[in-house]
C-alpha cells in the first residue's frame, strides 16, 4: 500500500515538469484557460507540434510507430501534470482513435501512409460515427458504401462530427452489407475530406461555438485500399476503439484544474462585502464538490494501479465517464453561479466579444452549456449505466 511514485516515475515526473516549464511560454495564453478558449486550428497545432518535436505526442503508441510507449503510470503522470499546469489536451481523433485502430488492424501501407502524418499533425482527423438516426445506437447506422471495382461509393450523412471543418481525413463507420443484421455488415473506412461530393455544414451549439458539424456524402468515391481490416468487420474495430476511449484516465485532473480556477474566482467575487468563498452556502457546495472530486481522483488511481499491474480493467472504468462528467458539469455550474449577473452576457453565443464584467467571467456560462454534452457524447451516461449494469453487475 503505497501512494508514492517509484524513483524512476518521480524522475519522469520531473522531466515532464521541465518540459512544461519550457513549453508554456511558447503557447498562446488562451490555451491555459479552457473555460474561455475558442481555439483555432493553429492554436491546437502549436501544442501538438511541440509535443511531436519532443517525441511525446503519442504516449501510448509503440515506439516502432513513433509513439512514446509509456507505461500506464507514465501516461497518468503526464496527463495529470499537463492538466495541473493548465495546458490543453491533444485532440483524440487521430492520436487516440484512428491511430490505434490502424496500428491494430491496418495493413502496412496504411500504417506507412497515415501514422507519420497523424504524429506530425500534417493530417487532421475527424470521426464519422453518429448519424441523425443513430446517436447512442450506432448499430442502426445507414450511411452506405457500395463496392464498385477498386473503390467504394459512399452516400449518406454523419453528424456531431467534432471540428470536421478543419479535417483532412475522416474515419467512418459505413454500411457495406444492408442485408446483414444491424451490427454486422458495417465497415471501417478512411475518407479524404477533399474528395468530391463531401459537404461540411457547421452545427452551432448551445455556447455558440461551431464545434460540431454535419458531414454529407454524395456518391463519394473512396479507394478500396482505404478499408481498414476486413469488410463487414467494422463493428469489431469500433468496439475496440470505444474500449480504448473509455479507459482514458485523468479527467479528474482536468476538473481539479478547473476547480482551482473556480476557487480563484470565488476569492475575487464579493458577497455582502466579503469574498464569496467565505459564504457558507457557496463554501459548502465547493467543499462537497471537491470531496467528490478527491474520491474520483482515488478511483482513477485505483484503476490506474490495476492497469499498471497488467490486470484487465473492463467496464468498471465506465464509472469514470459517468462520475467524471457529472463532476465536470458541477464545476462549470458553480463557476457560472460564482459570477452572478456577469454570467448572463458571457455565453459566447453572439461572437467572440470581449468579456463583459471581470475578465474571468468570459465564457463561463458557455462552458456550462457546452458541458451538457459531457453526459451525452461518446456514449451517453444512460448507455454507460446500461453497460455497467450488464457487464459489471451482471443484471
Amino acid at each position: 500500500m503505497d501512494l508514492s511514485f517509484s524513483p524512476q516515475e518521480e524522475a519522469f515526473r520531473q522531466e515532464v515538469l521541465g518540459f512544461i516549464a519550457e513549453a508554456k511560454p511558447k503557447l498562446p495564453q488562451k490555451l491555459g484557460a479552457p473555460e474561455q478558449a475558442r481555439l483555432s486550428k493553429d492554436d491546437y497545432l502549436i501544442w501538438h507540434r511541440l509535443l511531436f518535436k519532443k517525441g511525446w505526442v503519442a504516449p501510448a503508441w509503440p515506439k516502432a510507430f513513433g509513439g512514446a510507449d509509456w507505461s500506464v503510470t507514465q501516461r497518468y503522470i503526464f496527463s495529470t501534470e499537463i492538466a495541473k499546469a493548465g495546458m490543453p489536451t491533444t485532440l483524440p481523433f487521430g492520436l487516440g482513435m484512428v491511430g490505434p485502430v490502424i496500428i491494430a488492424f491496418g495493413n502496412d501501407a496504411q500504417k506507412k501512409k497515415f501514422l507519420p502524418r497523424i504524429l506530425s499533425g500534417d493530417d487532421w482527423w475527424c470521426q464519422g460515427y453518429s448519424e441523425p438516426g443513430a446517436g447512442s445506437d450506432l448499430a442502426s447506422l445507414r450511411c452506405r458504401a457500395v463496392r464498385d471495382g477498386d473503390h467504394y461509393v459512399v452516400t449518406g450523412q454523419k453528424t456531431w462530427t467534432t471540428l470536421a471543418q478543419y479535417a483532412d481525413w475522416i474515419f467512418c463507420l459505413v454500411r457495406t452489407d444492408p442485408a446483414a443484421k444491424p451490427q454486422e455488415g458495417i465497415s471501417f473506412l478512411l475518407i479524404d475530406m477533399k474528395s468530391p461530393g463531401i459537404t461540411v455544414k457547421p452545427i452551432v451549439i448551445l455556447d455558440g461555438a461551431p464545434e460540431v458539424n454535419e458531414v454529407f456524402f454524395d456518391s463519394v468515391k473512396v479507394p478500396a485500399e482505404n478499408l481498414v481490416g476486413d469488410e463487414n468487420k467494422g463493428w469489431t474495430y469500433a468496439k475496440f476503439l470505444l474500449a480504448h476511449e473509455r479507459s482514458a484516465l485523468a479527467s479528474a485532473s482536468r476538473s481539479r484544474a478547473a476547480l482551482a480556477r473556480l476557487k480563484a474566482i470565488a476569492k475575487a467575487e464579493q458577497l455582502d462585502g466579503a469574498p464569496l468563498i467565505r459564504d457558507p452556502d457557496f463554501a459548502h457546495k465547493l467543499a462537497a464538490l471537491e470531496a467528490d472530486l478527491m474520491a474520483l481522483e482515488f478511483t482513477e488511481l485505483r484503476i490506474l494501479s490495476q492497469e499498471a499491474k497488467g490486470e484487465k480493467v473492463g467496464s468498471e472504468s465506465s464509472i469514470l465517464k459517468v462520475a467524471g462528467s457529472e463532476i465536470q458539469q458541477r464545476v462549470a455550474d458553480l463557476a457560472m453561479e460564482a459570477v452572478g449577473y456577469y454570467a448572463l452576457p458571457n455565453d459566447m453565443s453572439l461572437g467572440d466579444n470581449e468579456a463583459v464584467g471581470p475578465d474571468y467571467a468570459r465564457g463561463l456560462a458557455g462552458r456550462y452549456f457546452n458541458l451538457r454534452k459531457a453526459s451525452i457524447y461518446g456514449g451517453s451516461n444512460e448507455i454507460q449505466r446500461n453497460i455497467i449494469a450488464k457487464a459489471v453487475l451482471g443484471l
Partner: protein, 371 residues
C-alpha cells in the same frame, strides 16, 4: 378557494397567445434576435394595442385596473414564446415603483407605460453587490432642486431598447445599510450616461451603464426606497416565475413529443423506463413550479408574502433547472444545438434563476424572514 381565471383574464391570455402564435414564432424570433437591433419594435406597439401594458395598471393612470394575476397571465405566455420585450422592468417594476410613490411623476409616466410610449430598464445591480439591493456604490446628491447621479450599473437587461432608466443609488448611509437607498428616473439620453450594449443569453440585450454627474428625478421618498423596492421586486419575481412556467411548459411538451418519435435501438426512446421516470420527474417538477408560481402571485401583499415569494423563487429555480437539464439530456445531441429552441428555453430559465437572486439567496431570505 378557486384557481380559475376570470373571463377578462382568459380573454387577455387568448388574444396574447393568438398574437404570439401568428407573429412571434420561433422562426421570427431567430431572425429578429439576430438583427442588430435585436428585436422587432412593432411588437411593443402591438402589446400596447392588445392592452397588455395597461392590464395591471390602475384605471386612473390609463390602466385597466388589473394586478399581479394579469401580469402572471402575460408573462406565462411570454415565457412560452421566449419573448424578449421588457414587460417586467417597464410595467411591473417601473409601474410598481411609480404607483407606490404617486405624485406628479406617476401622473406623467404611468399613462405612457400603459400606452406603450416608453420602455424602461431597471439599473440596480453592481459588480460588488450581487443580489443585495442595498449594496450600492452608486451615489446621488441633491443639487439645487434635482439630484446628480454617479456610479456604474451592471447587466441592465433591456437597456439598449429603453428610453428611460430606473436607477438605485445611495443618498445616505453606509454601503449595505437599509436606510439611505433611493430610486431615480433617468433619461437614457441625459448628460453623463454612458452605455456598453451587448447580447445576453436567450435573445436578450443588456448594457453596462455609467453615470457621471447625471441629472436624475427622485421617485418616492429620499433614503427610504428599500422597503418599497423589496415589495416591487416581489411582484417582479412573481411575474418572472410565471415566465419560467411558460418556458417549462414548452420544454416539457417538446421533450415528451421528441421521446415519442425519436427511435433508438428499435423503439421510441420514450419506451425506455429510465427516460420515462426522468420525464415523470420533469413533470413533477413542472407541477411543483406551477404551484410555486401561483403561490407567489396569490400571496403578494400578505404578511408572509415575501417569504412565500422567496420560497417559490428558490424552489422553482431548482425545478426549472432540473427540467431544462433533463430536456437537453433526453434530446441528446440535437438538444445541444443552437438551432433547436430547446437550448434557448434552457438559457432563459438559467437567466431567470439568477435574476433578482439565486436560489441560495432566497433560501437565506426565507430563513431570515422566519426569525
Amino acid at each position: 378557494m378557486d384557481f380559475s381565471f376570470s373571463e377578462e383574464q382568459n380573454l387577455l391570455r387568448n388574444s396574447l397567445s393568438r398574437y404570439l402564435a401568428d407573429h412571434y414564432s420561433y422562426e421570427d424570433w431567430r431572425k429578429f434576435t439576430a438583427s442588430p437591433e435585436g428585436r422587432d419594435p412593432r411588437h411593443w406597439r402591438q402589446f400596447a394595442e392588445l392592452g397588455l401594458l395597461a392590464a395591471p395598471l390602475p384605471e386612473e393612470h390609463g390602466g385597466l385596473g388589473g394586478g399581479a394575476i394579469e401580469s402572471m397571465v402575460v408573462m406565462e405566455e411570454f415565457g412560452r414564446a421566449l419573448v424578449v420585450e421588457p414587460f417586467v422592468p417597464t410595467v411591473v417594476i417601473g409601474g410598481g415603483l411609480l404607483m407606490n410613490a404617486g405624485g406628479a411623476l406617476a401622473e406623467e409616466i404611468l399613462p405612457k407605460i400603459a400606452g406603450g410610449e416608453t420602455i424602461l430598464a431597471f439599473a440596480f445591480a453592481e459588480a460588488q453587490g450581487r443580489y443585495n439591493l442595498a449594496d450600492l456604490a452608486t451615489t446621488a446628491k441633491k443639487q439645487g432642486g434635482a439630484h446628480i447621479l454617479n456610479g456604474q450599473k451592471s447587466v441592465v437587461l433591456g437597456a439598449p431598447w429603453a428610453d428611460t432608466l430606473i436607477v438605485t443609488a445611495r443618498t445616505g448611509g453606509a454601503r449595505r445599510e437599509p436606510g439611505g437607498v433611493s430610486v431615480f428616473l433617468v433619461e437614457k439620453g441625459a448628460k453623463g450616461v454612458s452605455t456598453r450594449d451587448y447580447a445576453a443569453m436567450s435573445g436578450l440585450r443588456a448594457s453596462d451603464v455609467g453615470f457621471e454627474n447625471t441629472p436624475a428625478r427622485l421617485i418616492g421618498e429620499e433614503g427610504a426606497a428599500l422597503e418599497p423596492l423589496e415589495k416591487v421586486m416581489d411582484h417582479a419575481i412573481a411575474a418572472h416565475l410565471a415566465e419560467a412556467n411558460g418556458a417549462i411548459a414548452r420544454l416539457m411538451a417538446a421533450t415528451t413529443e421528441y421521446a415519442k418519435t425519436r427511435k433508438q435501438f428499435g423503439q421510441p426512446i420514450g419506451k425506455f423506463q429510465v427516460l420515462q421516470h426522468r420525464m415523470v420527474d420533469m413533470y413533477i417538477a413542472q407541477q411543483q413550479a406551477l404551484s410555486a408560481g401561483l403561490m407567489a402571485n396569490l400571496k403578494l401583499g400578505d404578511t408572509d408574502g415575501s417569504r412565500a415569494v422567496s420560497a417559490a423563487k428558490a424552489a422553482a429555480g431548482k425545478y426549472a433547472r432540473a427540467v431544462a437539464e433533463s430536456a437537453v439530456q433526453i434530446h441528446g445531441g440535437i438538444g445541444m444545438t443552437g438551432e433547436l429552441d430547446v437550448g434557448h428555453y434552457f438559457k432563459r430559465l438559467v437567466l431567470l434563476e439568477t435574476l433578482y437572486g439565486s436560489p441560495d439567496h432566497h433560501l437565506r431570505r426565507m430563513a431570515r424572514l422566519d426569525q
